[in-house]
C-alpha cells in the first residue's frame, strides 16, 4: 500500500552523561562510551549482580525533586530549575514523562512548527515507554501495603504518573495538540514502534505531523528486574561493558533516556521550506510466531527484512542493528542481516555499544543516531567487538539450521570498532522486543 512520503524534520532527546543533543552527537562520533558505574545499585552491595548503566540523574537534567512530607522518599513533583516546563505539567509527570516533554520542546523547535501547526487537529503525539519499573508506584504501594497508610497520603498523581501512555499524555497536555494521542508498547522495540506507527498515520493521510518516540526514565526498579534475570553485563570496566558481537559478551547494559522526533507529511514540509533531516522509505513489523517470549528468531527476522524491502529496489548503506550484547541475540541478528544483504556493500553500526540498551527508548534514540549518521556521512562503531567467534555458534551446527554456515569472525569487515566516513544514502534500523516482536525502518537522505 503506497502512501504519502514522510519526512523527519526535528529531533530532541535526553541522553546519559550528555548535556544535550549536540553533546550526544559529539561524544558518539568521537567513539566515546556513555556508560558509567552507578552508585544506586552499588549501594545495595551483594543484593545486586551488576552495577554499570547508562543512567541520568535528576540534577543532570536540571530537575529537583519535591519530596512529600507525607511519604518518605516520595517525589510528589519536580522543580524545573531552567523553567522550561510549567509546574502544572510537572505535577502530572514522572521523570520519563518530563524527559519526553523536554525532548518534544527541542524537537518542535527544530521542526519550526508554529503554534497553529502544533495545536492543530492534524498534529498527533505518539510516544511510548517500556515501563519496566517505576519508582513512584513502588513507593506508593509500600506506603499503603507495608506501612498501612491511607491511599490519599500519596496524593492524586500515581495514576497519571504511572499509566501506560503517560509520556504521550504529558506531552500532549504540554503542547495542546488536537490530533491523536497514543502510545504503542512493544518492549525493546517500543521506540521504533511508535515512530513506525506515527509514520503510518501520516503516510495513510490520518495526520499531517506527529511528535513521536520513546522514553525510559531512570528507575532502579527497572535495572533490578533485569539484574534478577541475570541478563546484564558484568565483569568489565563501564566503557567496555556493552560489547555487541564480541565473543566474551555476557549481557546488555541497562540504560535510560528519551528520543523524540517530529515527523511531517513530506509535501507539507517541503512546501513550508522545512529542513528535512531524513525521509522514511519503509517500515515493517511482525512477530516471530514461535511461541517463545525471549529467544530471537532467525526466520522471524528474515521475514522482517522481506517485509521491509517488500521486493522493491530499496537498499541500505548502513544497518543500525539492535545489537544488545547478549550472547544469542547478536549472533542471530548478524546472521539474518548477512543472509539478507550478503557480506559486502554495507556496514553495521551498533550504538548500544556506546550507550547501552535504553529499553523502550532504544529504538527512538537509535533512530536519532541513524539521522545523525546520514547528516555526518559517518558510520557509528561497534565498540568493544574486539574478538569475534572463530567457531560456529551452536545453533549453526544443527541439521535444521538454514542460515549462513560461516562463523561470526568471517564478517569482521562489517563491524568496525571506530567511527569512519562513508557515503550514506540510507540506514536500516532494527529493534526487537520480548514477546518475539520485530521492527524495522528504512530512512534515507532527502534527494
Amino acid at each position: 500500500m503506497k502512501g504519502r512520503k514522510v519526512a523527519v524534520v526535528g529531533m530532541g532527546g535526553v541522553f546519559p552523561d550528555c548535556k544535550d543533543l549536540l553533546d550526544f552527537e559529539q561524544k558518539l562520533f568521537s567513539n566515546q562510551s556513555l556508560i558509567r558505574s552507578w552508585d544506586k545499585p552499588l549501594s545495595y552491595g551483594k543484593q545486586v549482580r551488576s552495577s554499570v548503566a547508562g543512567y541520568i540523574t535528576e540534577a543532570e537534567v536540571n530537575l529537583e525533586p519535591v519530596t512529600s512530607s507525607l511519604v518518605e522518599g516520595y517525589p510528589e513533583s519536580y522543580i524545573d530549575l531552567l523553567n522550561r516546563i510549567p509546574d502544572r505539567n510537572l505535577a502530572t509527570a514522572d521523570i520519563g514523562s518530563i524527559w519526553a516533554m523536554l525532548s518534544s520542546i527541542d524537537a518542535i523547535k527544530m521542526a519550526g512548527w508554529n503554534n497553529s501547526e502544533v495545536e492543530s487537529e492534524q498534529t498527533g503525539v505518539v510516544v511510548g515507554s517500556g515501563s519496566c519499573g517505576n519508582e513512584i508506584q513502588r513507593i506508593a504501594w509500600h506506603n499503603f501495603f507495608e506501612l498501612g497508610k491511607k491511599t490519599r497520603t500519596v496524593g492524586a498523581h500515581t495514576v497519571d504518573r504511572g499509566m501506560v501512555y503517560r509520556e504521550a499524555a504529558n506531552v500532549s497536555c504540554l503542547i495542546k495538540n488536537r490530533g491523536v494521542c497514543e502510545a504503542m508498547g512493544s518492549a525493546c522495540a517500543t521506540g521504533l514502534g511508535n515512530i513506525g506507527y506515527a509514520y503510518r498515520l501520516i503516510s495513510f493521510g490520518l495526520q499531517d505531523r506527529i511528535v513521536a518516540g520513546g522514553s525510559e526514565g531512570t528507575a532502579l526498579e527497572t535495572f533490578l528486574g533485569f539484574d534478577g534475570m541475570q541478563v546484564l553485563s558484568r565483569g568489565f570496566e563501564p566503557h567496555q561493558s556493552s560489547r555487541p558481537f564480541d565473543k566474551d559478551r555476557n549481557g546488555f547494559v541497562c540504560s535510560f533516556g528519551t528520543g523524540i522526533v517530529c515527523l511531517e507529511a513530506y509535501d507539507i514540509a517541503k512546501a513550508r521550506g522545512a529542513n528535512i533531516l531524513g525521509v522514511i522509505d519503509s517500515y515493517f513489523n511482525n512477530s516471530d510466531g514461535d511461541g517463545d517470549m525471549f529467544a530471537p528468531s532467525f526466520s522471524g527476522q528474515k521475514r522482517l527484512w522481506k517485509g521491509l524491502l517488500n521486493d522493491t529496489s530499496l537498499r541500505t548503506d548502513v544497518v543500525k542493528v539492535h545489537g544488545t550484547s547478549t550472547p544469542t541475540g547478536d549472533a542471530v541478528e548478524l546472521l539474518s542481516v548477512v543472509d539478507t544483504l550478503g557480506d559486502k556493500g554495507f556496514q553495521i553500526a551498533a550504538p548500544k555499544s556506546q550507550f547501552g540498551h535504553m529499553l523502550g527508548a532504544a529504538g527512538a534514540v537509535e533512530f536519532i543516531t541513524a539521522i545523525l549518521m546520514l547528516k555526518r556521512q559517518e558510520v557509528l562503531p561497534c565498540l568493544n567487538s574486539d574478538n569475534l567467534n572463530p567457531e560456529l555458534e551452536t545453533f549453526q551446527t544443527v541439521d535444521s539450521w538454514s542460515g549462513p554456515k560461516e562463523p561470526l569472525l568471517y564478517y569482521r569487515d562489517l563491524l568496525k570498532q571506530e567511527v569512519f566516513s562513508k557515503e550514506i544514502n540510507s540506514v536500516a534500523c532494527l529493534n526487537y522486543g520480548f514477546g518475539g516482536t520485530n521492527s524495522a525502518m528504512l530512512v534515507s537522505k532527502d534527494n
Partner: protein, 86 residues
C-alpha cells in the same frame, strides 16, 4: 485552636503546592475558593487535605472529605469539627 491559627497552617501547606500561584496566598481569607480564586487544580485538593491531616494531627472521615467544599472556610470548619470529635 483559633480559626486564624488554622488558616495560617493551611497557608503553610499551600506554600508547598507548586501548582498554586504563590502571590495569591498573600491575601487569603475564609471566603477564598481554592479552585475559583487560587486556580488550584482539583486533583491537588486531596493532597492538601492529606497534608492538613498531618499538620493538625487528625484524620478526616472519608464521608467528610467527599462532602468537603472548596473554600478555605470549609477546610477550617472540617478541621474544627474533626478536632472536636477526636
Amino acid at each position: 485552636m483559633e480559626r486564624k491559627e488554622i488558616i495560617d497552617g493551611l497557608v503553610e501547606i499551600l506554600q508547598t503546592v507548586r501548582t498554586i500561584d504563590q502571590e495569591k496566598l498573600k491575601d487569603i481569607k475564609e471566603e477564598t475558593d481554592f479552585i475559583a480564586d487560587l486556580k488550584t487544580p482539583s486533583t491537588e485538593m486531596i493532597n492538601i487535605a492529606a497534608k492538613a491531616e498531618q499538620k493538625f494531627d487528625l484524620e478526616f472521615d472519608d464521608d467528610d472529605i467527599d462532602d468537603l467544599g472548596s473554600k478555605v472556610r470549609d477546610f477550617v470548619d472540617l478541621i474544627i469539627k474533626t478536632k472536636a470529635n477526636s
